[in-house]
Amino acid sequence: MRNYLLSRVGQIALTLLVVSLLVFVLCQVLPGNLAQTILGPHATADQVAILNHKLGADQPLWTRFFSWLKGFVTGDWGQSQLLQEPVFGLIMGRLGDSLLLAAVAFVTIVPISVIAGIAAGLKEAGPLDRFVSIGGVSLTVIPEFVSGVVLLSIFAIGLHWLPVTAVAPPGSSFGVRLEYLILPAIPLAFVLFGYIARMARAGTIDVLAQPYYRTAILKGLPRRRIVVSHVTRNALPPTVAVIAGQVTYLVGGLIVVEALFNYPGIGKLLLDSATGHDITVVQAATLTLGLIIMLANLLADVLFAVLVPRIRLGGSR
């Protein structure tokens, strides 16, 4: 188990190195002149030269890459051109807000989807299964910007049940802040529901075909015990893997939803920086998101191993 974890961490470090190189190349090298990109077509040659010097863009490529990477690792992420703030603090603040939104979506939808999926799988082809399967697929294929707009116009603009914006007025209590997050969280939850419920359902159906399920019945165990200890316990690991995989999606979904609801998370920051040519922020934010996706996958691997004794305790004999 320890070796497995170490090798996974090693893999992650290597992947992040590749990602950072990609980010660097895409942001700094391919657009050509960095300062020109940032300042726009109307900047004078002097301005460009001064900024290039200030950014260190007049130095050789590898030197720039490694000094940027070193800065990233040590927490010196540079200064935002657009907002005139240190990038590190900026991203951490926005990341916190995004995580809150993601957490609201996750916490509400994960238990619901898992339970719905298992219940559907236990009665395959039953009415609940039809509902979950068809509903799940339908919700998954609706893009967030469509469901977001529809929800916004019905519940916020039409019925006035929920606020139009996602940000609570300053000084609001945690409860009020959560209330503001309900509407933006729903489009994210919709898509998650489809993936997670279908996986839990498939995992359950898989377990029901296993001889040990039959063993549990023929041992004369009560139904509840069979469902909890024998079915759910073994249907969960693949579901957990899928849930963690959805973090990748969530990051993409966040950018859309945050833009739609004007929510100041990291997605919105990334979008604004990209449109505002704030290269320093774009680089740091992209790499941060990459790091988060990697960590989520690592967490999934650990959870999977904890849930599956065969992996936790080393291979079969």
Binding site: Y212, T215, G220, L221, R225, N234, L307, V308, R310
Partner: protein
């Protein structure tokens, strides 16, 4: 068991009919099945796949698929009528009064629960025991099935146990609530010969210590003979013969039973002394409606009355019945195979040589410094239990696994280790047939396509139809997709594919172990026969010694990566032989009643981890004939006994002969 006959039966099945709904039609699976098992008695249910024997087992527990239904009849266990029970009462009955053990012990256990907890569950829900008490009772159950260090073992997960240990855990779980009836559904099919022998011993112990009635479902007649007092033969959902095990298996009356007994290689049958007689045709499918006897279509003794009306049970004596009009017709069953003599191979030149082949994975040595010759046109049997390295060795020869060291020579020419480096004529010359044809034939292709491609790839002159004829597939089967074929037919396709380019060596890795006995017989006959028409040598890998004895000219025995004995089949099976071979031979279930059994050697002691690079003999830790510390410290030498027979042991052949023949007297 004469005293037992006075007691009322514990299990009483009367006129049981079970049907499956298939495409809106009700297809009977079991018809008018009646049987009794008394307390302490063991009844064997014998039949091929499709005979309904597993359906019978699950019907007794009222566990049928959604489309299955008990249409009429009664099942009484003790004083409980199973067919009338409510769901709650059924849950109480299961595990408590009736328990079942079935084939795949590995998958019958929940992979994410400790085995002790899985047994404790039974106590928790069927007795008043809870928590620690249930747990300590579970440990006691593990102790009672003779598992070592039960306290420690209870905390393990299923994947940490060997196949034999897993099956013991399942048996312990079944016995936990002290059931009145124990159903064993092919309990040893997936296990090695010596492990099977251990489980059989365990069942014997259970019988002697409790009054549990046992219902053993198996296609293995040797196993049934060893365990059971009485036997019921099931064919196409009907009981066709019933009686004591000795009578039914030694003096079978129903033509089907006679055919079944004739289709298995019996231990002691050397090649050339007896034919295996496959039963021609296949059992009627479930939805076939027949007026007469279900077996008539395949029966060599059938007459017009057999087709007109189904024969009733005819009593032949106390508890012995047979469902046949012509049970007194003792005329021999006609041979269904052409020809009546086996080619006897004289010593021919070597076609394949292995020199010092070794395969190690990290620290594990799977094949250790192994040298071997295969002669032209010979059948070489490679025997050993799981983990012996026999499959790895075959895969090395086939080029699917690269050896760590050593050399392979084909007719004196060096064969490249990797398949991709082998020239086409070497690929053609070495072919392999795998255990499970299901996973080696592409389900989307027709038989014709598969054979055609093999012919083209191997650059052969033969035609698809010629090849199909050789493996006895008819025109319709050639045109069909492989998914529509039965297991035996698929294996014929796989064999046909191997023969597409007239190979020099065909490696057969357990080619019949997934098949029914009567189908197995037809494949074995096919192999024997195709040798008459081809010059190929076979390397036949099997854990079934009776099959190897029947088929092989020479035999090699492997244990944990070592070749421990090699020689002519007759020499290997007789003393002197390696102590491991001796244990294997004594573990073969024979078609004799339990009183006639030869004393069996039980292997105790731990298997060394394959990684331990200890200097001594690999078998030393379990060897019943170990002579002292020399076995642990020095690698045993090869000892020649003449006629090319050699044994790798510290004990001299003369001394081995003495102790081994002494045992038998």
């Amino acid at each position: 068991m004469t005293t037992a006959t006075q007691e009322p039966p514990l299990l009483s099945v009367m006129d049981l009919n079970v049907a499956y709904m298939v495409r809106g039609e009700s297809c009977p699976v079991l018809r008018d099945v009646s049987l009794d098992v008394r307390p302490g008695e063991a009844l064997g249910i014998v039949g091929e796949s499709g005979s309904g024997k597993s359906t019978l087992a699950f019907s007794l527990l009222r566990y049928l698929p959604d489309n299955g239904r008990i249409t009429s009849g009664t099942i009484r266990i003790g004083d409980v009528e199973m067919t009338q029970l409510s769901h709650a009462a059924l849950t109480h009955e299961r595990g408590n009064n009736v328990a079942i053990v079935y084939q795949e012990a590995g998958s019958a256990l929940n992979p994410s629960m400790r085995v002790g907890d899985q047994i404790a569950e039974v106590f928790r829900f069927h007795t008043s025991a809870a928590g620690d008490e249930a747990r300590s009772q579970a440990v006691e159950m593990l102790r009672s099935v003779l598992l070592p260090e039960p306290e420690h073992l209870a905390r393990r997960y299923p994947h940490e146990l060997s196949g034999g240990q897993q099956q013991r855990v399942v048996i312990a779980m079944a016995l936990a609530a002290n059931p009145k009836l124990l159903i064993l559904d092919e309990p040893t099919t997936a296990l090695d010969a010596t492990v099977e022998a251990e489980i059989v011993d365990l069942i014997g112990t259970i019988r002697s210590q409790s009054n549990t009635a046992i219902l053993l479902i198996s296609h293995n007649l040797g196993l049934v003979a060893r365990i059971c007092d009485r036997v019921t033969i099931l064919y196409s959902g009907r009981v066709v013969e019933q009686g004591t095990a000795t009578e039914v298996l030694h003096a079978p009356k129903h033509p089907y039973t006679r055919a079944l007994v004739a289709s298995i290689p019996r231990f002691g049958d050397a090649k050339g002394t007896r034919y295996l007689r496959p039963i021609p045709g296949a059992p009627p499918s479930l939805d076939t409606v027949t007026q007469g006897c279900r077996f008539a279509e395949r029966c060599p003794l059938a007459q017009s009355d057999c087709l007109a009306e189904e024969p009733p049970f005819i009593a032949l004596g106390e508890g012995r019945t047979v469902r046949c009009y012509h049970a007194d017709d003792a005329s021999p069953l006609p041979l269904t195979e052409p020809g009546d003599e086996f080619p006897v191979t004289e010593r021919r030149p070597e076609v394949l040589q292995l020199r010092n082949v070794t395969k190690t994975y990290k620290k594990t040595t799977v094949v250790h410094d192994l040298s071997l010759e295969i002669r032209e046109r010979e059948i070489f049997g490679l025997v050993g239990e799981s983990g012996s390295g026999k499959t790895t060795l075959a895969r090395i020869v086939a080029g699917l696994v690269e050896p760590t060291a050593g050399q392979i020579l084909l007719r004196g020419r060096d064969v490249p280790r990797r398949l991709s480096r082998r020239p086409r004529d070497v690929k053609r010359a070495i072919q392999m047939v795998f255990q499970s044809p299901d996973s080696t034939l592409n389900p989307r292709h027709s038989v014709r396509f598969i054979l055609q491609r093999a012919i083209k790839k191997l650059g052969s002159a033969t035609t698809v139809l010629e090849l199909a004829r050789r493996v006895r597939l008819d025109q319709a089967q050639v045109e069909s997709k492989t998914t529509r074929l039965s297991g035996g037919q698929k294996q014929r396709v796989a064999i046909g594919r191997a023969f597409a380019g007239s190979p020099d060596v065909v490696l057969l890795d357990e080619p019949v172990s997934a098949l029914d006995v009567s189908v197995q017989a037809s494949i074995l006959s096919l192999l024997v026969e195709s040798r008459r028409t081809s010059d190929a040598s076979y390397v036949f890998i099997s854990h079934d010694l009776a099959v190897v004895r029947f088929l092989a000219d020479r035999i090699g025995v492997m244990y944990l990566g070592w070749l421990v004995e090699v020689g002519d089949a007759a020499d290997v099976f007789a003393a002197p032989h390696h102590p491991y071979t001796e244990a294997l031979v004594s573990a073969i279930p024979r078609l004799r009643s339990s009183s006639e059994q030869v004393s069996r050697i039980r292997l105790t002691g731990p298997m060394p981890p394959p990684s331990a690079d200890q200097p001594g003999c690999r078998f030393a830790s379990r060897c019943p004939r170990k002579i002292g510390s020399i076995c642990d410290t020095e690698a045993p030498p090869w000892r020649q006994t003449g006629n090319g027979h050699k044994i790798r042991c510290h004990i001299s052949p003369t001394a081995l002969t003495e102790v081994q023949s002494g045992l038998k007297s």
